[in-house]
Amino acid sequence: MPIVMFVDDSETALASTKIATQNMPIEIKQFLSAAEALEDIGDASAVPDLIITDLNMPVMNGLEFLKELRGIEATKKTPVLMLTTETKDELKKQGKALGLTGWIVKPFNPAQLQAAINRVLRLE
């Protein structure tokens, strides 16, 4: 089963993504910070097949997290989606330059998030 990692500093945001994807054939991993997620990637034998991260997080934001991921051999090419309230083109451009896969603006509806995951993981 593909592993999808969600990273968001908000517990309610993580709860919303968990509910939205609960019927999908995926294994969900959730972390409240980029640092925790990176620690898991370093430890785990199974790297995630898709990472969905928030942008505005304290200490390490989503773009900084993406930059770190691109520097790790195991996640160099892992698809990453930004799930954020931000809509600025400049930030999207920065993400694209770092190899970001896509940008989803909150609030999402579950079908929309599921469709994005299906598209990236080619589940359908």
Binding site: T12, I19, T85, F108, A111
Partner: protein
């Protein structure tokens, strides 16, 4: 005149600090309430419900908005304290210090407005973009 100003500034500081306290409390209670409802739904095995997913996200947006205004008010309190200190220690430069205070207040307001915009998300049409 200077004492009146200091008292007035101290009162403003107290008001802002009180609002910050209330906002932090509201933000925490709101988050805890949603998480409790989430636990209940899980226990009762109530499946996917778009309305609850939307409500959870709106709580998150609300929480970020409140945090942003709290941070702005913390910035304002800091500016008021700096100005108060300058009134006591550098009373010869009142005009210059007032200009600095005004600039700091404007900056705090602008930062709060920028964050409101950044944390609002889309306002109707869903946005998904692949690169």
């Amino acid at each position: 005149m200077m004492e009146v100003n200091v008292e007035l500034l101290s009162s403003l500081e107290d008001v802002f600090e009180h609002i910050i306290d209330v906002q932090k409390d509201v933000e925490k209670r709101s988050k805890d309430s949603f998480l409790k409802i989430n636990e209940l739904l899980k226990e009762r095995e109530i499946g996917l419900d778009d309305r609850f997913v939307e409500a959870l996200q709106n709580q998150d947006i609300l929480s970020q908005q409140i945090n942003a205004t709290s941070e702005a008010m913390e910035g304002i309190v800091k500016s008021l304290r700096t100005y108060k200190k300058s009134l006591k220690e550098d009373s010869g430069n009142i005009s210059e210090n007032i200009t600095k205070l005004e600039q700091n207040l404007k900056r705090s307001l602008q930062e709060a407005k920028d964050k409101k915009s950044a944390f609002s998300g889309h306002s109707g049409e869903e946005e998904v973009e692949f690169f």
